[in-house]
Symmetry: C2
Subunit: 372 residues, 2 copies
């Protein structure tokens, strides 16, 4: 782990670069808005640690009303439980004896659940949980977006019945997350995709009812689609993550009003320094694709006109300037909005929390790299 790029009390412009900056006011407004939206829809909120990787932010979300956290990886669950989070759902399958045993041991200190889409894996997990003297919550993941998941309806209900009869496991509901739907560009495409997911959930709930099983959790949803799941009357937990930060990919998708995604604010920035001015119409910053991920395109420059990131290499961002661009002396610091928040955060060891132009908090990204 590297040394933090800032000290408490420092001015934003004195933070060393590249640094991952979070606007604490915007972050807290985003967290509060999503908590309100979930409360008004009458559904529980279980935000996703895969986005922030940071117990300090998980605690803020829980303080605002979230019931706990989702994770994708056992290592993320370990980071949360070590920091006192007491309700963690692995919204993913967990394969392999060593990982299942680590997860089972966490269940001595916290309420832990995970997902299954395969009968043999449920047998293995039940055995390990029993050996460790714990009970793991077990959700059946149904396939709604061509990734993991068992077929909805009767196959899912059969797996649920098997789980319900497996010592060490407690059948806890359904996982029905449609990942690809989050980034579909239009409101209508996202609505239709989640309508399909809802049909799969409805069919599976009916099949479960026929075998006498009820769901504690019907979980899914992300920042792109949560309004559909929240209003479905089927889902009761939202697993949103990006809403806390936003990114250019979410900014580009259209909301119902036809404009840009408008509900949440950009709170996350990569602070970068102009390190070269090779030509009057070009500037190079000291942050490249080891400071922000590029699979959703280059970052946007925040708050300044006439600057476009036109090329990104490992350690450099190459910027084209128009006549509207401000004077950009070497040493000038810029805020970049990343294309995709989750993998960008996973590159950094710290969030530098800024309020009123000063560093208020340095939050370790404890689960950075916790991919196992």
């Amino acid at each position: 782990m590297q040394a933090p790029p800032a000290e408490i009390g420092m001015r934003l412009e004195d933070v060393d670069t590249p640094a991952l900056i979070v606007d604490l006011d915007a972050l807290e407004r985003n967290i509060g808005k999503m908590a309100d939206l979930a409360a008004r829809a009458g559904v529980r909120l279980r935000p996703h640690t895969k986005t922030h990787k940071c117990p300090a932010i998980a605690h803020r979300q829980i303080a605002a009303g979230a019931v706990g956290q989702c994770v994708q990886k056992v290592g993320e669950a370990e980071a949360l439980v070590a920091a006192g989070v007491r309700d963690v759902l692995v919204s993913n399958e967990v394969v392999g004896e060593s990982k299942l045993r680590r997860l089972a041991r966490l269940a001595r200190e916290a309420r832990i659940a995970l997902c299954f889409d395969d009968a043999d894996q449920a047998v293995i997990a039940g055995r390990i949980a029993s050996e460790e003297g714990v009970t793991l919550g077990a959700l059946v993941e149904i396939e709604v977006g061509r990734r993991c998941g068992i077929a909805p309806g009767a196959p899912a209900a059969a797996l649920a019945q098997q789980i319900a009869g497996t010592p060490g496991l407690r059948f806890s509901g359904l996982q029905a997350y449609h990942g690809r739907a989050q980034h579909l560009p239009t409101h209508e495409e996202r609505r239709v995709a989640i309508e399909g997911a809802q049909a799969a959930v409805r069919e599976t709930l009916a099949a479960l009812e026929r075998v006498g099983l009820a769901c504690d959790i019907v979980g899914g949803a992300g920042t792109g689609t949560f309004q559909f799941e929240a209003g479905s009357g089927l889902y009761n937990e939202l697993q949103v993550g990006s809403y806390a930060f936003m990114d250019t990919d979410y900014a580009r998708i259209e909301d119902a009003d036809g404009g840009r995604f408008a509900t949440f604010e950009h709170s996350l920035f990569v602070l970068a320094t102009v390190m070269s001015r090779p030509a009057p119409d070009r500037a190079v910053v000291d942050a490249g694709l080891k400071s922000y991920s590029m699979e959703k395109g280059p970052p946007w420059v925040h708050g300044l006109p006439g600057i476009e990131v036109i090329g990104v290499s490992d350690e450099h961002g190459n910027m084209q300037l128009t006549s509207e661009a401000p004077a950009l002396a070497i040493g000038t610091k810029l805020r970049l909005i990343p294309g995709h928040c989750d993998p960008t955060i996973n590159l950094h060891d710290f969030f530098v929390g800024i309020r009123g132009g000063r560093v208020e908090e340095i939050m370790p990204i404890t689960a950075r790299g916790a991919s196992r």
Copy 2:
């Protein structure tokens, strides 16, 4: 930092996933081949730490004949000097008093040089080096590939003269790296691009001769173009990095014989586990874009037919299987060849070094995240 995914002596198939695996035999053959190529061309080899971020690999390269290492960032230089490397060139501009002061302090223990493309920055660096009681080597970076760098010829020579007269700095030569040229798809395109860089170097060397300055270092080159720089009669140090590992992007570029890049072997893999088999023709692995970078496309599956990575999300790799694919039970481990080695390595905390099917060495990626 996360716990290592393996223990010494463990079989490859028992390594936890996702894990960054390096085939030590292939790595050592690559390191030896490049050392031989440089020696035969009569040029020095100064491999790039930005690729491996790992002092243990730097030491292997130096033991094979390299004169030292290149880095892009002060934090990488700190990791090397702390591990005993005594000759480090920052092949990049360094902006900001705190970074320059950290770098100057390293010069008490090691030979340190950095690049300049701006007169004011040379003044600042000279002042800080003098305050710290050290002399920093100073290269003039000339623009050869539309990134950083001052114009070749007279402007570069004027900056060199200024540096030569600046206490705290020692004029040490030219930096002329053409980054974009490395990945041009055909041999001929790469040859022409480096011909352009050579013309800029030649013009600048002539301008330097007119003002009575000689170059200790004329540096540049990468894995895609090094044969052109090595044979130029102008460059005397090669700054190659990827050759130690290779990736799909380098595998795709054509070599002189029209085939795939043939000189170096793939030694780097992301080990991943099949975690879901949602359909007979699909499998999902537990490694996504937090385990390998995606800006050069999805990874290839190594050594097995009929498997294509068709979709990648944060923690999942979605694979399409043809009838040629082997049985892929849940739990099967696969080796993925990343699209781009440098940013993939920067996601991981350890290389797991494999020889003869067993874990021989676990190498900490000490400079992972050292972006400042």
